[in-house]
């Protein structure tokens, strides 16, 4: 037992690094009181080291700590997504007027960001119900505090209140669902054991449906799927932009990783034989993929339709991120490895374009103090580079070529057509058209409207521009040269214990 735990430690280095970084960031903050920025650099360094250690884990498929956590290509992939977005967020924070205005609390800010990253690293690998709940809570508790980081601002504290109430409620629902599932499967906590129990002895289908709906409520809240999305617009609008960007990319990625792993392992018929390679089927009498398909249609339709009416750009991006969650859910509903690989491709692309869009919003709000779409009038003339970058991100979010967003959508729709889910593909395509409308509305404000009388050109510093380039270049590059991410995603769609 002890030997096994010690052996597991060697496969657990990225998480250990983050845990140490969390403590170090706090300590450095206490020791060097006069230099709060120092703990942010420590935190940044820790995340970089954890990414390096994660890269070293590539290709390993193993279960550590007696089946608590899986270290497999799937988890590694999502750790890289979460880790790199954490790095981007730290870099954004160095230039965010909002974050720097509360310099005194920068220590808490950086250490909580590390704790949140740690929670997400655990989320993507959790294969035990207890571990799933604990990692969701670790992520959640840190993000509730971070959402209200600028606590003097009433918007920010309102966001954190709404976040924690919805968050605690959905964790409660999920726990109740888990407790029912625990009883149904005769005390199984490991998701592989749950699958074995469900395959060998069929259970009451209604009880199983109720349990899984409650669990979907918990996970759906994390990925902000409709109808569990109510917190998303308010929290995204009220929280500091850096945190909003982190929630919309990393938190969603971790939630998706957990959702995919849980449903793919616990609720597929693992005893089925004679299926074509890369296709799986649901348990007899429990077609959970239909539920996911319905959620996906609701999510993207509501996200896109409501986004059309928004005037605050952060709120608009919140609804757009809800819609993107809907597109990605389609990849899970079709039950094939190709669909999962398409979701992974989408996440790489989504990370660059969504972080980019939020970064531009942050830069502009640093200068103008407003996130209103009207304040973007003539931005293309006041700062051509920023304007053009925003157009690229929006084209990509809408899914038009030659940007990376097009590639992401292409693979999702290709896998849908492959699996003969034509109606879902049609709904997705109609939604993409709707989304074009509200993205173009912002672009029109930037380029076809004259700036206000008394507004001069906006100047940005060189590092800010370099950071923007780091996001713009991949968004364009992956639209033209996408084979590396496709290969990487295909190699990463493998999970521990699934053939």
């Amino acid at each position: 037992m002890v030997d096994q735990a010690l052996l597991s430690l060697a496969k657990f280095l990225p998480e250990i690094t983050l845990a140490i970084t969390f403590c170090l960031a706090l300590l450095v903050g206490v020791i060097f009181r006069s230099r709060p920025r120092l703990s942010m650099w420590v935190a940044l360094l820790g995340v970089v080291v954890s990414i390096a250690l994660t890269i070293r884990e590539m290709g390993i498929t193993e279960s550590v700590f007696s089946g608590m956590i899986a270290v497999d290509p799937f988890a590694t992939f999502f750790k890289l997504i979460v880790g790199s977005s954490a790095i981007f967020i730290f870099l954004f924070s160095l230039y965010s007027a909002e974050v720097l205005s509360t310099m005194k609390r920068l220590v808490e800010y950086s250490s909580l960001l590390v704790a949140m990253t740690l929670g997400m690293y655990l989320m993507v690998g959790a294969t035990n119900l207890l571990m799933m709940v604990l990692s969701i809570e670790l992520t959640g508790l840190s993000s509730y505090v971070l959402a209200g980081y600028t606590k003097e601002a009433s918007d920010s504290s309102e966001a954190s209140l709404k976040y924690i109430i919805y968050g605690a409620l959905s964790t409660g629902l999920m726990l109740y669902g888990i407790s029912i599932l625990f009883g149904l499967t005769g005390g199984a906590m490991d998701i592989y054991a749950i699958n074995r129990a469900l395959v060998t002895s069929p259970v009451n289908p209604i009880a199983l449906l109720v349990a899984s709906l409650l669990i979907i409520a918990g996970l759906g809240y994390k990925i902000s799927a409709v109808p569990f999305h109510f917190w998303t617009p308010d929290v995204y609008e009220g929280a500091p932009i850096t945190i909003t960007a982190f929630l919309s990319v990393a938190s969603k990625a971790a939630g998706f990783a957990m959702l995919i792993r849980f449903f793919k392992i616990a609720f597929i018929d693992s005893s089925a034989v004679g299926l074509p390679a890369g296709i799986w089927i649901t348990l007899q009498g429990f077609e959970w993929n239909k539920i996911i398909a319905i959620l996906s249609v609701l999510t993207m339709t509501l996200g896109n339709l409501v986004a059309v009416w928004q005037n605050n750009l952060k709120r608009l991006l919140a609804y757009s991120s809800i819609a993107h969650a809907g597109y990605m859910l389609m990849g899970l509903a079709i039950l094939s490895d190709k669909g999962i690989a398409a979701v992974l491709i989408y996440f790489v692309v989504y990370m660059f374009m969504n972080l980019g869009a939020f970064y531009v919003v942050m830069l502009v709000s640093n200068k103008t103090g407003s996130e209103d779409i009207d304040s973007y009038k003539g931005l293309g003339f006041r700062s051509p580079f920023i304007g053009v970058s925003m157009v690229i991100f929006f084209i990509s979010l809408a899914g038009l070529p030659p940007t990376a967003g097009f590639i992401g959508k292409l693979f999702i729709f290709a896998s849908l057509l492959d699996a003969k889910w034509i109606w879902l593909a049609v709904v997705g395509a109609i939604n993409s058209v709707i989304s074009l409308y509200y993205y173009v509305r912002v672009v029109r404000n930037m380029f076809l409207r004259d700036p206000d009388e008394n507004s001069g050109p906006l100047k940005f510093s060189v590092p800010e521009i370099v950071l923007l380039l780091l996001l713009v270049v991949p968004t364009l590059l992956f639209g033209l040269y996408y084979s590396p991410i496709v290969d990487f995603a295909n190699a990463s769609a493998r999970m521990l214990g699934v053939h």
Binding site: E137, E152, S160, L161, Y176, G183, W309
Partner: protein, 112 residues
């Protein structure tokens, strides 16, 4: 006669009794969350939901599995509930300083 049967049933506690209690507790919790306007009351509703899950874990552990897994789970849930309450109360305190109220209907600056 029916009443006598009912009392008979009550006197021999089994899994169903505990599941029934937890179901009632869960419903009360959700009811409190949906109807209460005071943020602290909403939090208490959430605690009820968490405790309903705990009763389920313990009942299943005692009556069907015979292992300690359910107990361990319940202990972790209690710790989670404490951590969540600590952070939620801090946030509510902060809300009170900003809004002078903890009525969640009045805290709605962020709107479409």
């Amino acid at each position: 006669m029916v009443l006598a049967d009912f009392f008979q049933w009550l006197q021999t506690p089994g899994l169903t009794h505990f599941l029934l209690i937890s179901g009632i507790l869960f419903s009360l919790g959700v009811f409190a969350i949906l109807t209460r306007r005071n943020a602290i009351m909403v939090l208490m509703g959430i605690e009820l939901v968490l405790n309903a899950a705990n009763i389920n874990f313990l009942a299943f552990s005692r009556f069907t599995t015979g292992t300690l897994d359910g107990h361990v789970f319940a202990i972790f849930v209690i710790i989670l509930a404490a951590a969540e309450a600590a952070i939620a109360l801090a946030i509510i305190l902060n809300i009170f300083q900003n809004f002078n109220s903890v009525n969640i209907d009045e805290i709605n600056q962020l709107k479409d």
